[in-house]
């Protein structure tokens, strides 16, 4: 009666035309967006600096040239040899800013991973299961939101005498996951009620397939966008912590630390020690914001060309 099964005759196999892959389409949209491309370029430049800091930096970032080479290099203004000048110990600021990219990115990436590992599963559970799970997780999220979370980070970090950078990004991640959790939860709630998920249930597909094949791929774009936008925030936060004396410790070439070390000299006209790392932070935050905004527009499948 039911003869749907394929005719196993001599028929040659039917060719499949390549569809426009979703990634390719997103890339086309992304490329058309100037600010997004600028953001991508800026991000690449930071990553490049971080990876190749060793090769790019003209000097050892910790070498105190004022003692080893020439006392005149103490707080020397920008020059041809030292385009961003030197700090109190004669360390080359350009070299320190380049190495600083490494610190900032490392913190940004690890803290974001912690954020994703906590925020996405919890948001998915709250959104998909609903009920008591949702109540519980949403309550936790609200508490953390209402709490001045910088205090939490400080409390965690200050328990340790010599806090390692890893501790800093775990602490940041422990607080920052709530934004991703909210976004993931919202996505799961709206997708759980969507017709294609209902269709998957009608087809008798198991819950794990519904979550990983049907909901998650559709929820991933806003999660990526939020995580990218969050990178800028995390990097600023790390700089702020370093500035306050938590997080990176001297002589680590951390941007936040450099700003705090150099700030008292700004009033004396020796602005370069603080200013260049400040510009680096601004550049990084802008880069991730442009990139995140561009991704948001590019990853929206429903948006037609």
């Amino acid at each position: 009666m039911r003869a749907i099964a394929a005719d196993k005759g001599m028929k040659p196999p039917v060719r499949a035309e390549a569809g426009d892959s979703l990634i390719k389409e997103a890339w086309i949209r992304f490329r058309r967006n100037k600010l997004a491309m600028i953001g991508l370029f800026m991000t690449f430049s930071i990553i490049f600096a971080a990876i190749f800091a060793g090769a790019l930096a003209p000097y050892d970032p910790k070498a105190q040239l004022a003692f080893t080479v020439d006392p005149a290099l103490k707080l020397a203004a920008p020059s041809v040899q030292h385009p961003m000048g030197n700090d109190l110990y004669g360390r080359d600021i350009l070299s320190r800013v380049l190495y600083g990219a490494r610190i900032s990115l490392e913190i940004g990436i690890f803290a974001t991973l912690v954020t994703i590992m906590i925020g996405v599963p919890l948001g998915a559970i709250a959104g998909y299961m609903g009920g008591i799970w949702d109540d519980l997780i949403s309550w936790l999220v609200n508490v953390i939101f209402a709490f001045p979370f910088i205090l939490f980070v400080l409390a965690v970090v200050s328990v340790f005498r010599n806090p390692s950078l890893y501790l800093v990004f775990v602490a940041i991640g422990l607080v920052n996951w709530v934004a991703l959790c909210r976004i993931t939860r919202g996505q799961f709630i709206s997708l759980r009620g969507s017709e294609f998920v209902e269709a998957a249930r009608a087809l008798g597909l198991p819950t794990w397939k519904i979550i990983f094949r049907h909901i998650l791929p559709n929820a991933i774009a806003p999660i990526i966008v939020q995580a990218t936008l969050g990178m800028g925030g995390i990097i600023t936060l790390e700089a702020g912590l370093a500035y306050l004396g938590f997080g990176a410790q001297p002589p680590t070439p951390s941007w936040g630390l450099m700003i705090s070390e150099g700030q008292q000299y700004i009033a004396r006209g020796q602005w370069w020690w603080s200013m260049f790392p400040g510009i680096a932070i601004m550049y990084t935050v802008l880069a991730f914001n442009f990139l995140g905004d561009g991704l948001r527009d590019a990853l929206d499948v429903r948006q037609k060309r």
């Binding site: 009666m1 039911r2 749907i4 035309e17 269709a199 791929p217």
Partner: protein
């Protein structure tokens, strides 16, 4: 379709109710219920197409999804080929799942935008082992041919197709499960009129080729007239009339059905028809009227209609819930 009561019903809906609680205030107390489906009983025979009509919000979708247990009813039972569909929820009875499927109204929302057509059609049959991995591609190709899609386009994504083609993808996904019963929930209402009849004809062809049984939901009587064997009319979550198609369109009994039929546009302008225009709006399903639910708008309402509720009475295969007939 063979007559006679010896044949078992394929779908048996008994006293089905679905009440959605309305939560109010910070404590989310239940302040009342939307009585979306309010004690509905009907049967669908094997091989027939039952058209389910009614205005927007009267509970058609809720009935269709309750039959597939995509919605858990508040009360009542649904039996499919003698088996209670509650089993779908408790143990997710895969065999039962496969036998009953649904085609959705929205050709955009019902397809996963991140999956290509081949995966959309092939995922479930592969999971349920209706085909092996090696046969899957051939299987998808043959199904796409059956529903009038170019198999060459199976690596494409839903957004690369038109509305009508997308609806064919939805039909192919259902067909690939080799179902016996399909709920068609307004499968053509979202499509251009020019495409509607193509999709309707496809559904009719597949019905005869694969001996399918349909519950065909629509708010458009002319669509229902085209495809159904019997017609069921729903008003405010209650069944008011069920009759064979010919009887229904020539002698509608319930005043609501009469009004609906008189409102169908007639191609012949000379045809004299007494249009019954209904007064007022559909009452809220939160506070349905006492007595006959149609009494607030019925042109023939009597005193009795406000006090008592008429039940669905079978008069030779033509069921109506109205006091005009005793």
């Amino acid at each position: 379709m063979t007559e006679g009561n010896s044949e078992r019903h394929l779908v048996d809906v008994l006293h089905l109710k679905k009440y959605y609680p309305i939560k109010r205030g910070i404590l989310r107390r239940t302040a009342g219920y939307v009585k979306a489906v309010n004690d509905v009983t009907f049967q669908i025979r094997r091989g027939e197409t039952l058209g389910l009509v009614g205005e927007s919000g009267c509970g058609k979708t809720t009935i269709g999804r309750s039959i597939l247990r995509l919605i858990v009813p508040s009360a009542g039972t649904v039996a499919f080929d003698g088996a209670d569909v509650e089993a779908l929820q408790k143990s997710d009875d895969a065999a039962l799942r496969r036998r009953m499927q649904i085609i959705f109204q929205d050709p955009y929302g019902s397809l996963n935008p991140r999956m290509n057509v081949s995966d959309i059609i092939g995922e479930a049959p592969l999971y349920h082992r209706l085909v092996s991995k090696a046969e899957l591609d051939d299987y998808v190709v043959s199904i796409m041919e059956k529903v009038g899609l170019r198999p060459e386009s199976r690596a494409k994504y839903p957004h690369e197709f038109s509305g009508g083609q997308r609806q064919r993808i939805g039909i192919a996904r259902v067909l690939a499960m080799k179902p016996e019963f399909v709920v068609c929930d307004e499968p053509v209402s979202a499509l251009d009129v020019s495409i509607q009849s193509q999709v309707l004809n496809l559904l009719a062809d597949l019905r005869s080729e694969f001996s399918l049984t349909y519950l065909f939901i629509s708010h458009d009587l002319s669509v229902v007239k085209h495809i159904s064997d019997r017609v069921a009319v729903l008003y405010l979550g209650k069944m008011v009339e069920i009759a064979p198609k010919a009887d229904f369109f020539s002698q509608p009994m319930h005043p609501y059905s009469q009004a609906l039929i008189s409102a169908i546009p007639v191609p012949d302008p000379d045809a004299t028809k007494n249009r019954v225009i209904l007064e007022g709006d559909v009452p809220s399903p939160i506070n349905p009227p006492d007595g006959c639910i149609f009494s607030t708008r019925c042109p023939k309402a009597m005193d009795r209609c406000k006090a008592e509720e008429p039940i669905l009475v079978d008069r030779g295969g033509h069921e109506t819930a109205c006091f005009l007939y005793g």
